[in-house]
Subunit: 210 residues, 4 copies
DNA sequence: AATGAATGAGTCTTCATTCAT
DNA sequence: GATGAATGAAGACTCATTCAT
């Protein structure tokens, strides 16, 4: 299944939102049908099962960040640090644009072996880690970055921080008195802050010698 | 309910593990009973309901990191940076020692308003953020730290990175060929790596002028 | 919900019978499903819950005797005593035709505040008492009935006696050696006896001066 | 089991109240234990089972009206009508004094064959009906009462009316604006009214020729 | 004698899925 | 293709009773 009609997309979008908020097991097929305004039986009819619906959401959203990274890696003009900055922009942008999807991913990651998406997630992480490793090594070869960079940890900082931020954004908004701000503005604010700080964080870690 | 007998503790520990791995909704009371080796009805008998069981787990585990931070804040001998280092030790230690509990917290955070523990989590975050803010301000007053530190973001780095690491540790272990290592050693390795890198990260962000 | 399909009616009829015989709490949804020959889950599917099923039975059966009384009250030709006689006919007929429903009502009345149908019953009683009061007063104005008639007590005699009779009819039948009679004939016998005696009772109370 | 200690009596009294209000099936053993302030296991311990508890309540309360009637029947001085009046006093008094018990009886009567007390109730009714028949026949022989008295129906009037009154007393009280009256006074009022009207009812039916 | 702990059977309800049309 | 109806399985929870002490 590769092309989806309107109803199918509606179902996936509503399901994505509900899975993100209430978890996969905590969301009933009836919830999704109601939310999407479709007949209950449609979901099994279109996707086969609740689990396959989730798989389709992954396929639908999951064209990953990999491609952009591959292109960027081959760029001969940018410095490695510029590439890192751009990578941060891309990651944050992607996660913030697809918060629901990313929340599902976080839930699935926590679930160790149980989730149905274990394999896909493993693949995604492996690939991304490999590309970032290449980027870091390139910078090290060019003398831009210091030695002894821990790539998996850098990924954890990048993704963990961003993920934590979108998870706790409602607390953050409350605690910092930003309830009156429109959501759009708040999201822009968050993104700016995240990219800015992550970049300076990465710069410090990648370049400053202690 | 403040003191728990052996069986109650066994139930809570198994429930904690299952809730962490499969989510609250994804875990059936029967799962818990089977895992803990107790009769199904015992759980309602001891805790009233599945939800109240979760609340008890929070109460059981939730004596939070706050106290330790409060004591440390009043220490007159340590430098602020030393305090930050110690705070990182405490946080990482705590999260790694109570991985299951922390995974449940992560899930609940993602769930925005739906979860039954929303209030407690909010309280915890607020309190911790406030204490860390005091710590940072102290360092700024003493001239140890630079201006313009974003406290919520520092928390996100600390907690998000650690959380992401424990969530994806099985991937990490696989990708880095550490399957033969005992779990104990692997955990120690993880903790060391996390504290080391987070400390240098924080030092960079808090002290280096750009 | 206003129109019921065959299955829904079957469920309500069997439930009515079981609730009458064994009480609401004493009847399990499984009992009803078995008796009605439907799948257990159908009952929640159609009615939402056991309690709502009861409410639907009340709605289904509860078009009360009120309307008939209202029409009769406005009749200008009948004497008041004739109206009282007709009222007795209607009440006894109704109660005997809907014995199961009426038994549920009796149970619910006993339950003071606990039952789910408390409100509806209160309404029914109030309305009926008011109409009968009007009928009595009319007779008193016309000089047909004596003064000092206690309306609530007259209702208690009418409904209490009839109710007691249908409750104890199996004893009555046994004690009076009517087991061989067909049920149909026995019911007719009961109705005749009840109406006859209640009418003479009412006549005595309403008209004879002591 | 014939003599009950304090705790046993407390259990039976609270159980009686709860069975009356919520029905046998609707009352849990835990409810009773809580209400009576005794340990849950005490009830099985003392009475064997919930059902046997009900049987004990019947035994405890059920020394019936029979004896009084038998004595009265042999009285050579009272007229038969005086005896009927006294019988009405006794019945109403008994039912009103033991409303909870009588409510349980009503519920059990409705239940046809299902209730555990079916036999006892049958016995009680048979005996009482027989004695009243003797009383009526005595009056007829003496020429005090007219012929063709329907004894079961007279019993239905007596017991049904009284039962209906105690069942609907809360409605009655409300509808007639007697909420401010103390319950004691209200009960006295009800009893007076019931005996007065039932006596005149019986007098009319037993003596007036049409 | 008395009770906290324990339990198997049963409660009502919801679930994801399938069927008949 | 689309859907209202239907269902077996599983959900959380409560029940009356018994057990070990």
């Amino acid at each position: 299944m590769m092309e989806y009609n309107e109803k199918q997309v509606a179902i996936m979008e509503k399901a994505e939102k509900l899975f993100a908020e209430k978890g996969f097991a905590g969301t009933s097929v009836r919830d999704i049908a109601d939310e999407a305004g479709v007949n209950l039986a449609m979901i099994s009819y279109y996707f086969g099962s609740k689990e396959k619906l989730l798989e389709n959401i992954f396929r639908f959203r999951g064209e990953n960040i990999t491609l952009q990274l591959e292109t960027m890696l081959q760029n001969k003009i940018m410095t490695s640090l510029e590439k890192v900055d751009q990578m941060i922009d891309r990651y944050v942008e992607r996660i913030m644009d697809q918060q629901s999807f990313y929340k599902i991913m976080m839930r699935e990651q926590i679930a160790k072996n149980y989730g149905p998406m274990h394999k896909q997630i493993r693949q995604l992480i492996t690939k991304n880690q490999e590309l970032i490793r290449q980027l870091i090594e390139e910078g090290q070869k060019k003398g831009e970055f210091k030695k002894n960079i821990d790539v998996p940890l850098m990924m954890a900082v990048l993704i963990g921080t961003t993920g934590h931020m979108i998870s706790t954004q409602h607390f953050y908004r409350e605690l910092n008195g930003m309830q009156s701000m429109t959501n759009e503005k708040f999201q822009a604010h968050l993104r700016k802050k995240l990219t800015y700080h992550l970049k300076s964080l990465f710069k410090a870690v990648l370049t400053y010698e202690e």
